[in-house]
């Protein structure tokens, strides 16, 4: 009797060739992007998306071409931060879907751009009996399609704004094995550091390069007098970085303006680069660039 290997095809579906074709499509898209960086945190609400958007603005300010993939499929906020409204018409052709053009020419792709209204949640079926298996499998597929089918063009940087938690990194590693690294973000609170420590441990275990740790909301900057003060009574984040053997690459103050667009529709960094917060963002970006330069040799 013939064995599996004796049978050349799969009976007409050509599943292998379809999977190979998907991989080739993804690879040809990613090959045009020089550096891919994930920004993540084990903990939600630490300001990942605001930091990601302003890091992108800082890179764009230095002349780099930048894109952001909003990998937070169920809590997308990058479009909102970069001024790409849900009402923009999608342009889809054989070569892919055109990314949104955000502030400073930053290209973005987000689930928020695909749903019919700003209030529409991301749901893979409207049937009440949707299973967790179904939702989970669809999210993996969606991430692959958002990466492979977006016409990113040539980019210096693709920043990946990760959802809270560390589970999505499994998908990202599979899709982007050449990932330059992950930036972990925490706030000073002991609870946040407790969760982020797990995320760092997981990345270390999986062999994901960690670019470094950013302490967000490290201090408080008064929007009126631009003076800096202490915000959280927490443990020293530098100790967490030391304990985990990674670098503390930035200490960014809590600044109410960071997550808002300026009156002219720009990101905070673009118009406030000389502020305390702006300089802190630039310093973190400088460290990211140093890491990438050192590790790309």
């Amino acid at each position: 009797m013939k064995t599996y290997e004796d049978l050349a095809g799969d009976g007409g579906s050509n599943i292998i060739s379809q999977v190979v074709s998907q991989r080739e499509k993804l690879r040809s898209r990613l090959d045009k992007i020089k550096n891919k960086v994930a920004l993540m945190s084990g903990k939600g609400g630490v300001g990942k998306s605001s930091i990601t958007a302003n890091i992108a603005a800082c890179l764009a300010d230095q002349g780099y071409s930048v894109g952001i993939l909003d990998a937070d499929l169920n809590g997308p906020s990058i479009g909102h931060l970069l001024g790409v409204g849900n009402d923009q018409k999608l342009i889809i052709n054989d070569d892919g879907i055109q990314p949104g053009q955000g502030s400073r020419g930053i290209k973005i792709m987000s689930m928020d751009m695909l749903v019919s209204s700003p209030d529409t949640p991301v749901m893979w079926t409207e049937e009440a009996g949707a299973t967790a298996v179904w939702v989970s499998t669809m999210e993996s597929t969606a991430l692959r399609e958002l990466l492979a089918d977006t016409n990113w063009g040539e980019l210096d940087f693709l920043l990946i704004d990760m959802p809270p938690g560390s589970d999505r990194m499994d998908n990202i590693r599979e899709l982007i094995p050449e990932l330059a690294g992950a930036v972990e973000i925490t706030i000073p609170s002991p609870l946040s550091q407790h969760i982020v420590a797990k995320s760092i441990t997981k990345n270390n275990t999986m062999g994901v390069p960690i670019i470094g740790l950013i302490e967000n909301m490290a201090t408080y900057v008064c929007p009126h007098c631009d003076q800096e003060g202490k915000l959280f009574e927490g443990q020293d984040v530098a100790q967490l970085a030391d304990r985990k053997g990674i670098s503390l690459i930035g200490r960014i103050p809590f600044d109410t303006r960071v997550s808002r667009k300026t009156d002219s529709g720009n990101l905070f960094y673009t118009e406030n680069k000389d502020s305390i917060t702006g300089k802190a963002i630039a310093s973190a970006v400088d460290n990211i660039l140093k890491f990438i330069k050192k590790n790309s040799k």
Binding site: N14, M123, W124, T137
Partner: protein, 144 residues
């Protein structure tokens, strides 16, 4: 996964006609030996059907719709923008809104085959309108 006809020692071929999953996503994929004509059905339950959907591939070969950008997202995302809506069958038959909705609910990886099944059934019957009743007849015919 491959299927072998033991008496003929020949690989069985996927049948692209004759598929129509029920509402609970149970599915029957048919395979036929091209030598002796013997047919078998591989039955999957909802969980197995959903698991295969992750691959983003199509049984019976890739269709034009399947190769299009965001093909799986566009076909599965509830309340997606209309630019992503490629679930509407492209043929010369008239599909009622109910029929279009029902075909869009078929799992992506077998939807193209389900469409072919419905269209072939309509052509055989000599009708140009595809509605819910006709789709019920298709399901009855293919044994689901």
């Amino acid at each position: 996964m491959k299927f072998l006809c033991i008496p003929c020692d020949e690989q069985m071929e996927t049948q692209t006609d004759g598929i129509m999953p029920d509402e609970s996503k149970n599915l029957a994929m048919k395979f036929k030996c091209k030598k002796c004509g013997h047919m078998i059905a591989m039955l999957t339950n909802k969980f197995e059907t959903e698991f295969v959907s992750k691959l983003g591939v199509e049984m019976g070969g890739a269709s034009g719709e399947g190769k299009a950008p965001l093909s799986v997202v566009g076909s599965q995302l509830a309340q997606a923008k209309k630019e992503l809506d490629r679930g509407k069958p492209e043929d010369n038959l008239i599909w009622t809104e109910e029929a279009q909705e029902r075909i869009k609910r078929v799992p992506f990886f077998v939807r193209n085959m389900a469409k072919k099944t419905v269209i072939n059934f309509a052509l055989e019957k000599g009708v140009t309108l595809i509605d819910g009743k006709l789709m019920d007849e298709v399901r009855e015919k293919v044994g689901m």
